[in-house]
């Protein structure tokens, strides 16, 4: 009996003493943090993808709290919805941004761009790019080892074994930009999703002169400038033998698509004539898929 009382007494005293110690230690090493950081973090997707340019969601939350006007802070994964919520938490205003999507600007399929040698090293675009120009005659295009696939945290990009090119799943893509950074050839670009997901872009990054580019790949941009001439909105510029369509100026008239002699300009998600990636049936028009998505 005395033993049990003694045990309880010792444990009680010990517990109380340690609690006091713990309290003071906790006080001493307390880290002062803005409680709003927690509130902002709760609103974020929590993917820690780094697409915003910060180390993770908490770092982004901290950056939001510290920034004056949220102008430089944007969570590409959460998009405008999340940014509105963050702004509400912080009591600030935020301007809506066009949602974006990753676009693979290479159409060097196995058919368009035959392989001229065989790569036998580690299957990584970075390793391959550091070694040589690649297993096709085009030194600019996609290397096909799938660094963009392995870096995507949302499973939004996959290699198509038939073409040897990556395909972006527009539903899953959050425009975090990880693939853009991972691609050593700068083939992938973030572009505005556009009205009803409709986009027109040059699916090529070859800067060689026309003849060389054409020799390397049937679907290469040869820098002929026909598209630039036909564009009524001055959205197309040709630099270094390569055309580029400014997505902020493009009005989706598709005149350039018909004009391009090599078919390097792609128009996607248009209702009737719909080439890859996803064949869009006529029903797609009725879908309430707005640019807000």
């Amino acid at each position: 009996m005395t033993l049990s009382i003694l045990t309880i007494a010792i444990l009680t005293v010990l517990g109380a003493a340690l609690a006091v110690v713990l309290y003071f230690v906790a006080e001493k090493f307390k880290v002062e943090e803005d409680p709003r950081i927690d509130d902002v973090e709760k609103e974020l997707p929590g993917a820690n993808c780094g697409g915003c340019g910060q180390a993770g969601c908490r770092a982004f939350a901290q950056a939001c709290v510290e920034s004056e006007d949220l102008g430089k802070c944007f969570c590409p994964v959460g998009g405008n919805d999340v940014m509105q919520k963050v702004a509400a938490v912080l009591g600030r205003e935020v301007a809506a941004k066009e949602p974006q999507v990753a676009v693979v600007r290479c159409n060097g399929t196995c058919e368009n761009r035959p392989r001229i040698n065989e790569y036998g090293g580690y299957q990584s675009c970075r390793v391959k790019a550091a070694l040589y120009s690649g297993d096709t005659a085009c030194p600019f295009g996609c290397l096909g080892c799938g660094d963009c696939v392995s870096v995507c945290q949302f499973g939004a990009i996959a290699m198509d074994p038939a073409t040897g090119l990556p395909v972006v799943d527009e539903e899953k893509c959050t425009a975090c930009g990880a693939c853009v950074k991972a691609c050593p050839k700068n083939v992938i670009e973030l572009r505005n999703k556009g009205r009803r997901n409709m986009r027109v872009y040059v699916s090529c990054v070859n800067k060689d002169k026309g003849a060389a580019a054409r020799k390397a790949c049937k679907a290469a941009c040869i820098g002929c400038s026909k598209c630039a001439k036909v564009c009524p909105f001055e959205a197309i510029t040709v630099e270094n033998n390569l055309a580029y369509i400014d997505y902020t100026k493009c009005k989706l008239c598709k005149k350039c698509v018909a004009e391009c002699p090599t078919g390097a300009i792609h128009a996607v998600n248009f209702p009737v004539i719909a080439p890859k990636p996803a064949p869009a049936p006529a029903a797609e028009v009725e879908k309430p898929k707005t640019s807000e998505e």
């Binding site: 790569y119 090293g121 070694l131 040589y132």
Partner: protein, 330 residues
């Protein structure tokens, strides 16, 4: 070739592969397997067959049906585990006990950690120790030799020299001089084949042959094995010199039990031993000391398996502490 192959340098590669290394270990184990066959007869071969077959089957089952990945049994590592497990068991072990041991060795100790190269503990040893704790009666049922060489034909249940010494020394006032099993031991017999024990323990010379083969082929480096043997020699030597009536002598400790089998084939397992030379020596010293502590002062007569498993657990730490000597960073 119509298309040239392009890859980063180097463009040449060694002929040595994981498979060829494992094959060399199997070849190195052959002398011990042959001796156990000659010594224990067909029953030891049956045990070996059950152990190998169940190890391969368990790995095949797990990779193909649970993980849905290509089978990895072709790399021969499960084969090595199977042989080692069999060499660690008494010949009289029932087949279903061997099977359980294989399931634990491959299924629990190897595949749950992620398969070859990922396991923290030596699979065969985990299997053996699991059986030793779960089925002590089977695991200490040392059938006397009934093979083609050595010993009589009586299938008596005896004990290993280590077991006998431990049993008799636990009595009050016992000294080694009063134990005939210890005093009458002939080192020549121990070296060749004539002592009781599991299939892999009976012949020191067969194990040393395997050791020589592994060294010549460059499969293992000698430092871990030598470090264990030296530590056991020094540790037991000190105690033996202090009191030869209470402590067994160094040669007895080196040649009996699973010490050589453990030091040559189990402690040197690539996956579960330290990467650096210094780490390997420390690892060996640890095994030697723990083995002798268990043999002299512990409840079990034999401690090699426990010693190796305990030291396996500190390998990540040893890898962190001891690194290779770097050029220009002395």
């Amino acid at each position: 070739m119509d298309k040239l192959l392009v890859s980063p340098s180097p463009h040449l590669h060694t002929k040595t592969s994981t498979k060829s290394l494992m094959r060399d270990v199997v070849i190195a184990l052959m002398p011990a397997v042959i001796v156990s066959f000659l010594f224990y007869g067909w029953s030891s071969m049956l045990l070996m067959a059950v152990s190998i077959a169940s190890c391969l089957l368990v790995e095949l089952f797990i990779t193909r049906f649970l993980l849905k990945k290509p089978s990895t049994i072709a790399d021969c590592s499960a084969l090595v585990t199977g042989i080692l497990l069999a060499l660690n068991l008494p010949t009289a072990t029932p087949w279903w006990v061997v099977f359980i041991g294989s399931v634990v060795a491959i299924g629990v100790a190897k595949m749950t950690f992620g398969g070859l190269g990922q396991n923290l503990f030596n699979p065969a040893l985990v299997g053996r120790v699991f059986l030793l704790i779960s089925f002590p009666t089977y695991m200490t049922n040392w059938t006397r030799p009934q093979g083609f060489i050595g010993g009589g034909l009586d299938a008596l249940t005896g004990a290993t020299p280590l077991g006998k010494v431990k049993e008799l020394m636990s009595m009050d006032g016992a000294t080694l001089t009063s134990i005939p099993e210890y005093m009458d031991l002939n080192y020549c017999d121990m070296l060749f084949y004539n002592i009781g024990g599991s299939a892999g323990e009976i012949s020191a010379i067969a194990l040393l042959l395997g050791f020589a083969y592994l060294l010549i082929r460059g499969v293992i480096k000698p430092h871990i094995t030598l470090s264990i043997i030296m530590t056991v020699a020094v540790f037991s030597g000190i105690f033996w010199l202090i009191d030869p009536a209470q402590f067994t002598d160094p040669l007895f400790n080196i040649l009996t039990g699973g010490l050589l089998l453990g030091a040559i084939f189990m402690a040197t397992d690539y996956v579960t031993s330290p990467m650096s030379k210094t780490g390997g020596i420390v690892f060996g010293i640890g095994i030697g000391v723990i083995t002798m502590l268990i043999r002299y002062f512990g409840a079990y007569p034999e401690g090699v398996s426990f010693a190796i498993l305990i030291m396996n657990s500190v390998v990540p730490l040893l890898n962190k502490w001891f690194h290779t000597k770097k050029y220009g960073r002395a």
